[in-house]
Symmetry: C2
Subunit: 194 residues, 2 copies
Amino acid sequence: MDVNIFLFDGFETLDAFGPVEILGKIDDYTLKYYSINGGVIASAQGTQIITEKVEYTSKDGILVIPGGKGTRTLVNDSLFIQALKETIEISSYCLSICTGSALVAKTGLLDNKKATSNKKAFDWVVSINPNVNWVKMARWVVDGKYYTSSGVSAGMDMTLGFIKDRFSEQKAIDIAKHIEYIWNEDSRKDLFAI
Amino acid sequence: MDVNIFLFDGFETLDAFGPVEILGKIDDYTLKYYSINGGVIASAQGTQIITEKVEYTSKDGILVIPGGKGTRTLVNDSLFIQALKETIEISSYCLSICTGSALVAKTGLLDNKKATSNKKAFDWVVSINPNVNWVKMARWVVDGKYYTSSGVSAGMDMTLGFIKDRFSEQKAIDIAKHIEYIWNEDSRKDLFAI
């Protein structure tokens, strides 16, 4: 199964690479890096990543969408949002981190579904699409094929939750142990929501 | 102040990008990515990063050295170890994550200093240089300008500890909150050392 990481300029580095670290521990997953036009993408922390064009994304994969300051303009980029919508539609799962859920919400595909996002940017994210059932008090939220996490580091907890759902709790615990990560495994417990 | 991240093929993605996420929150820090020959470096998770030649690294910076499967051969690469030694010597601080400390230890610069490393690879790391005072039960260890962390995720806790030491505990707490990270702030508490 392919893990397709959809990057854009100004994405938050850990939003993408926390989940990448965990998903990379599954032997059957192949990690691939995409962007709207392919080529070099720079994270908000100046990391330059080589990507392929998102139109080449495989079907039935796991789509990963980080957040970050780049989302603030991208929500108004209709070409990007259309490409994201089409990529989500061909994907088996859609995992967004932090304000990545603002981009997913903008496609309309989250309408009437439960989702969460970064707590400092929460009001802005809600304003992008109030038709989503936004859940403030959550480390991450699952609704069908959609996984949305709170800010940055919450993406790691969500991804371990995804591994638990796909495989088993033991598999998630084993991966957390392997990377010496203390998993905050209760998705409803959110220390940053207040 | 420059943060100089020294990458190599097969580095563990989160080893580098956990600390990057945190150090990138300091306005006065500029993040730069290096490798022995410059050009494209691939992480163990297939991320392709563009780097500059390490010989161009600025003096008096903060050097960050990840671990990962790439370290297993690099400890025997005398050109790499020599370049690393010279880069550490011109740096004000040296932060290694996971088995990155095996590389630092190989330079001899950690001799008679305290250090730690990944817990699953601990015996191998110790075998690289038994003249280091290896500390098994530690999330991270500080000795002079040398910060060494346990496996992968421990690098984030160490980097917040580094921020605490350079600035203040409140600054570290603020950054952790900003990225919704639950900081394991006791460097002596290590759940993975057994």
